[in-house]
């Protein structure tokens, strides 16, 4: 079965989640990948959404982090202060699964503004949401993001959620409990922080993608791990599960970052939900 680069990215991201892990799930690409993991190799993956739904088991892909199906299938539904204070803050959660509009060489995430002046931004993005504390407190963080020169920058215009800050020692100095971004999964390959410099380094590449392709889509002088490995293409079973999952999501493109124009194919007439 042939596949699109986006499908490879979602499959690679899903593979990063092990069965039985607890995962704090961000909106968009991370949610799709986390649900794919649960539908394939990790049926015991515990999905936690910032809406307070712990152990959600949606059969269809939710559009938001607060769709009814998340509450109806959760092991527990708690208030928003509780999800952040009791569950996220003490470091109980294995992995934070985040998206980003802009990512820099030290894994710092920007989802706030594009442009050097916060007060007069070139593009206004949605802002922080739960991400700053997810990035600080989860045992590790995985970022899922499409790779381009515009998104992969030397220095983030605004640090919404910290990765490794200025480099080695920053997280320790700030007293951040989690290990930070251990993997960045893109539509071209997989980047991991260098153990000494914390700089994001290409460690995995997808079939049919070349190192110059990845360098051309990176806004800094990307280092390549000497042991660069080729990531296995999606299996037929993975692709079938992903496509079945995508068929359940509402129309519209939930995967596109806010900096680009989302295509919409929605009907113009709202469809009022009826009382069951």
């Amino acid at each position: 079965m042939s596949h699109a680069p986006d499908e490879m990215m979602t499959v690679a991201a899903a593979r990063a989640l092990a069965d039985g892990m607890t995962c704090f799930v961000g909106i968009g690409l991370p949610s799709e990948a986390a649900n794919l993991a649960r539908a394939t190799h990790a049926p015991g993956l515990v999905l936690i959404y910032e809406s307070g739904t712990i152990g959600a088991k949606p059969g269809a892909l939710p559009l938001s982090i607060g769709d009814g199906i998340l509450a109806e299938t959760a092991d527990a539904v708690v208030s928003v202060p509780e999800i952040f204070n009791y569950w996220l803050q003490p470091g109980r959660i294995d992995v934070g699964f985040l998206g980003a509009a802009q990512l820099d060489r030290f894994g710092n995430i920007n989802t706030t503004v594009i442009g050097p002046d916060y007060a007069d931004p070139r593009v206004r993005l949605p802002g922080a949401g739960g991400a700053p504390e997810i990035a600080a407190a989860c045992r590790e963080v995985i970022v899922v993001i499409r790779q381009s020169r515009r998104a992969f920058v030397e220095r983030a215009d605004f640090v919404t959620s910290i990765g490794f800050g200025d480099g080695p020692g920053t997280r320790e100095r700030l007293g951040l409990p989690g290990a930070g971004p251990r993997r960045v999964i893109t539509d071209l390959g997989i980047l991991e922080p260098d153990p000494d410099t914390c700089e994001l380094t290409l460690t995995g590449i997808y079939p049919g993608v070349s190192v110059p392709d990845v360098r051309a889509a990176t806004g800094w002088n990307l280092r390549v791990d000497p042991d660069l490995t080729e990531v296995a293409a999606p299996s037929d079973a993975e692709l079938a599960a992903l496509r079945a999952l995508r068929a359940t999501k509402p129309s519209g493109d939930q995967a596109r970052p806010a900096t680009t124009a989302p295509a919409t194919t929605a009907p113009a007439t709202p469809n009022r939900g009826a009382k069951p």
């Binding site: 307070g52 607060g66 509450a71 208030s79 952040f84 802002g127 949401g129 700053p132 509402p250 929605a266």
Partner: protein, 279 residues
């Protein structure tokens, strides 16, 4: 005791020009009908507080009701940008919008402090980010017991909180369940509150996971069935995801947005406004 009244009378009594207003509901139970009523009544220069401004504040901002926004995530969940919010921030249309920007954990704790009668809350948050240098209400604080540096966030004390709930009883006790978000804290942090409900019943039946706000902790209750649409009320309606997707195109264009408001907020069949519609 809560006063059971019409939505129009509740909004007219509770919300005045220049007020700080928190309309809460985390994806679920968003008080959209109340937001429309505020637009119809022509309230101006509001400080709007909400974790996820969402479509409800996109509409209020585009309609010119807001002077300031206090928030933590301003997007259309799963769809993309809030275009009226972006137009206000990037182009000052229909007027400039002052921002006070936080994280979700920070906003939740700010409500918690307000509800608890404390001036601030403490959390592990914001450290290493650009947020503290660009917003107000965040400061470092040293733990008096361990010496550890933590983050303090200023309490939120809105003039008015507005929420939507599944049910109230005839005495004005309010009950809601499913994703309960930060609504309890918002109502208890605010000086006044307006609660719209799907239905008013004689007796509230116990429901798993439900939050109950006693009548004496609430100012106004109004029955507005479907008042959360396009958000939803678990047990009564489903989230209208198609509307969230359709909002992207409606809100992208100023003229199309104003036509939508004219048809859907000011149009025929809308409830009468005490004192008349102000445009």
């Amino acid at each position: 005791m809560a006063q059971i009244t019409s939505l129009a009378e509740a909004i007219a009594a509770a919300i005045h020009d220049g007020d700080t207003v928190a309309m809460e509901g985390f994806t679920h139970l968003i008080p959209h009908a109340a937001g429309h009523e505020v637009i119809r009544q022509g309230r101006r220069d509001l400080t709007l507080v909400r974790m996820t401004p969402d479509i409800i504040y996109d509409q209020l901002i585009g309609a010119g009701c807001a002077g300031k926004l206090v928030f933590s995530w301003a997007g259309n969940p799963g769809v993309g940008s809030l275009h009226r919010f972006r137009d206000a921030v990037e182009n000052a249309w229909p007027g400039p919008l002052e921002l006070e920007e936080h994280s979700h954990a920070g906003m939740a704790n700010r409500y918690l402090a307000g509800a608890s009668g404390l001036p601030f809350a403490v959390l592990r948050g914001y450290r290493g980010t650009s947020l503290p240098a660009n917003t107000t209400g965040v400061a470092e604080i040293v733990c008096p017991f361990t010496g550890e540096t933590l983050t303090a966030v200023a309490a939120l004390r809105p003039d008015v909180a507005v929420i939507h709930a599944q049910r109230a009883d005839t005495a004005g006790n309010v009950q809601f369940w499913g994703i309960t978000g930060v609504q309890k804290e918002a109502v208890l942090a605010a000086s006044r509150s307006v609660v719209t409900v799907e239905e008013i019943v004689d007796v509230l039946e116990p429901t798993p996971g439900a939050v109950v706000l006693p009548s004496w902790a609430v100012s106004y209750v109004a029955a507005v069935p479907g008042g959360a649409h396009p958000s939803y009320a678990l047990g009564y309606s489903a989230r209208d995801n198609d509307f969230y997707v359709a909002w992207d195109a409606i809100s992208r264009d100023r003229d199309r947005f104003e036509a939508w408001l004219a048809d859907n907020v000011f149009g025929a069949g809308q409830p009468a406004v005490p004192g008349g519609v102000i445009r």
